[in-house]
């Protein structure tokens, strides 16, 4: 493994190289449970289609945010990518190669950071043991100078911002604050020099004041080590601060994906707009809030799966564009409506073809 100590590298976001990670038509179903009685009378259980045809690419050195409500399948997608769940259909490609049965080397190069740092650290292991565990499993330490276990552990800890690392070696997780615990989790991932980090809600269990520090750390890892990051979150504000691209999931599908500036400031899908509307904003004005509960993946509506809750359909906007019939009956996939900006919405397609193909505004400060 090359020595990738902190060295800024040129990033080429959006370049045509092979993506680090690619997901094609991923499907994950969870078998429905059936009570004894219902089983006896021959009722069929309904499977939950948690992920229902997801395509996703993660480019090298990119931060991609996967956003959506609870139950939309974003965590299931992340877990399937990690090989923690066996997908029912679809492919996962790492550096252009299909994942085989042997996930060992893959797991070393793609690491996961979970939501709850307290739950993901063994309370009876020292910080040193926790960070060294991955190294031992993958036989990384060669024992040569520069590659001894202790050196690798202390390098990982200091990259994760735990400095000086030796001070933490013999501490236990309960002796650390929440932010420090999440840094240890990240250090455990970094110890193996991964190319990809999949972070599932990495800061939602942390205090608002500490979140920024952890996010800054992730961005720093991207900039210095060129690690690609898939960050699963329900927080679009977070996506705005860190992500290069944003994918919005609804009921097992990606309904909109594109550059963060585009998706978050000029959203095309009504669902993305609804999510943006509920981001708390100063002023306390009454904003439209989608009624109803998060959708039920055991009962996916026909047509556009968002149509029962769609404000554009309810307000008659879709009818004026003469797509309301299609909304209710025709399922649809993602379409590139603006450069690099895809959405799956009948209405948005009509609006886009009517000349909203304005050049993307990409000026950022």
């Amino acid at each position: 493994m090359s020595d990738v100590d902190v060295q800024p590298s040129e990033r080429q976001p959006g370049s045509d190289q092979v993506p680090v990670l690619e997901v094609r038509d991923l499907e994950v179903n969870f078998a429905g449970r059936l009570g004894l009685l219902s089983g006896l009378i021959g009722r069929k259980s309904r499977d939950a289609r948690a992920v229902d045809g997801v395509d996703l690419t993660l480019r090298r050195g990119e931060v991609l945010a996967l956003a959506g409500e609870s139950g939309c399948g974003k965590t299931t997608t992340a877990r399937a990518i990690m090989g923690l769940i066996q997908p029912d259909a679809g492919q996962i490609l790492f550096e252009g190669k299909r994942l085989g049965r042997d996930l060992r080397s893959y797991r070393r190069r793609v690491q996961m950071v979970f939501q709850d740092p307290t739950g993901s650290l063994n309370p009876r292991q020292t910080i040193y043991e926790i960070v060294a565990e991955g190294l031992r499993i993958h036989n990384v330490s060669t024992g040569e100078p520069g590659h001894t276990e202790e050196e690798l552990v202390s390098r990982a800890l200091s990259r994760a911002g735990m400095r000086p690392p030796e001070r933490f070696f013999l501490l236990y997780p309960h002796e650390l604050s929440g932010g420090q615990r999440q840094r240890v989790v990240i250090a455990g991932a970094l110890a193996l020099d991964p190319e990809v980090i999949v972070a599932d809600e990495p800061v939602s269990n942390l205090d608002a004041s500490v979140r920024g520090e952890i996010l800054r750390l992730l961005l720093q890892l991207r900039d210095t080590l060129q690690i690609s990051i898939l960050i699963v979150t329900h927080d679009l504000g977070l996506a705005w601060t860190v992500a290069d691209r944003v994918a919005v999931m609804y009921l097992g599908r990606i309904v909109e994906i594109g550059p963060a500036e585009q998706v978050l400031t000029r959203p095309m899908h009504p669902y993305t707009r609804a999510l943006l509307d509920v981001v708390p904003e100063a002023g306390g004005v009454d904003r439209p809030v989608l009624a109803g509960e998060p959708p039920d993946p055991t009962n996916i509506p026909p047509g556009c799966r968002f149509h029962p809750r769609c404000p554009a359909l309810a307000s008659g906007e879709s009818a004026r564009a003469a797509v309301d019939g299609a909304c209710r009956t025709e399922d649809l996939g993602l379409d590139e409506l603006r450069p690099q900006h895809f959405a799956a919405c009948h209405l948005a397609s009509v609006v886009a073809s009517e000349g909203d193909r304005a050049p993307a505004t990409t000026d950022r400060a």
């Binding site: 500490v210 927080d235 999510l275 708390p280």
Partner: protein, 330 residues
């Protein structure tokens, strides 16, 4: 007259490891129809205040100062009076709606319990009233006989709100009422709370670490750090023009989507919240403060006037603060 006023409130937990001063001299004032937002990191003492207001703290905890609810001193109340005031005078909506309901009892019965115990209504009338309450919080009254497991998280939180309103209290304390909820559901619950507060003219104490929620719901904002209020004033003034460096850091932690300054620049606060048993000398925030100067580790700042509309901030950098505290800036 204010619904709630707390003066010089101190709360000290007694543990085997020594005394833990969780609240160290806090003044609060909430008027009828007003929402006071109380913000701060975990461990700053904000939930302790919620529990202290209704005397729900563990036995042996030392509470001093004065808590006046509807003109009556809560700390001087005796057993029966205290029980009567809890829920009729002030009620609490807790964070974990999922765990606050009894799983083996119908939700209607659980709400009615508060009504019958406090003799607000007899059983038959109670059922009618429960139906109304459910409607008020946006649940169909036919759900009255549901068990908690038949409801979603947001619906359970609505039940908790209905319960808190059952005895028409003059003050509702909401302790992180939306923290465990999903974005969309959080927005729904917040709009129910706001609507009810407005319609019923409730006084409300809204506690959360999420400043962006408070900006939506509260009229006044108080920011706590290490057991003390470090800044207070009208919500929008405090959020958009914070005077205390800690408030600045908290406000900056919530990005405005579309604002280019936040792109690629997650902002936060370095360091960790202080251990309540080892509160730093002087201004407790000084070890994490970017603006600290030589007087900060020695002088304990009071809440100094900091602008119009009665704004106050506990920072030596506030104009006139240094002179008031008897220090000299070198």
């Amino acid at each position: 007259m204010s619904v709630l006023s707390a003066r010089d409130l101190h709360v000290t937990y007694r543990t085997q490891g020594g005394d833990v001063p969780a609240v160290r001299g806090v003044d609060l004032e909430i008027e009828r129809g007003q929402v006071l937002g109380l913000a701060g990191e975990s461990g700053c003492g904000k939930s302790t205040i919620a529990a202290a207001l209704l005397r729900l703290l563990p036995r042996g905890t030392r509470v001093t100062g004065q808590i006046v609810l509807d003109g009556e001193d809560v700390l001087k109340m005796q057993g029966r009076r205290l029980r009567a005031v809890r829920w009729t005078g002030a009620s609490i909506v807790f964070q974990g709606a999922m765990h606050a309901l009894n799983p083996v009892r119908r939700i209607g019965d659980q709400i009615a319990e508060a009504l019958t115990i406090h003799a607000v209504a007899r059983e038959r009338e109670a059922r009618v009233r429960v139906g109304q309450l459910l409607e008020q919080v946006g649940l169909p009254p036919r759900r009255i006989d549901d068990y908690p497991h038949e409801l979603s998280g947001g619906q359970k939180q609505r039940v908790m709100i209905a319960m808190a309103l059952a005895c028409s209290p003059s003050l509702v304390i909401a302790d992180e009422p939306t923290t465990a909820l999903d974005v969309m559901v959080q927005a729904q619950v917040l709009s129910v709370l706001k609507e009810l507060q407005r319609d019923l003219g409730l006084a409300m104490l809204f506690i959360t670490h999420d400043l962006s929620v408070l900006v939506e719901v509260s009229d006044k904002l108080a920011v706590m750090y290490a057991g003390k209020i470090v800044e207070d004033g009208p919500t929008n003034d405090v959020f958009f023009d914070p005077k205390h460096p800690y408030t600045k850091a908290l406000a900056a932690a919530f990005p405005q989507i579309g604002d280019a300054r936040f792109r690629g620049h997650p902002s936060g606060l370095g360091g960790d919240p202080p251990d309540p048993q080892q509160i730093p000398s002087g201004c407790p925030f000084h070890p994490r403060c970017d603006f600290a100067f030589d007087a900060c580790p020695t002088l304990v700042p009071d809440l100094y006037p900091a602008g119009e509309n009665g704004r106050r901030a506990a920072c030596l950098l506030v104009e006139g603060a240094l002179a008031a505290s008897g220090g000299v800036r070198r």
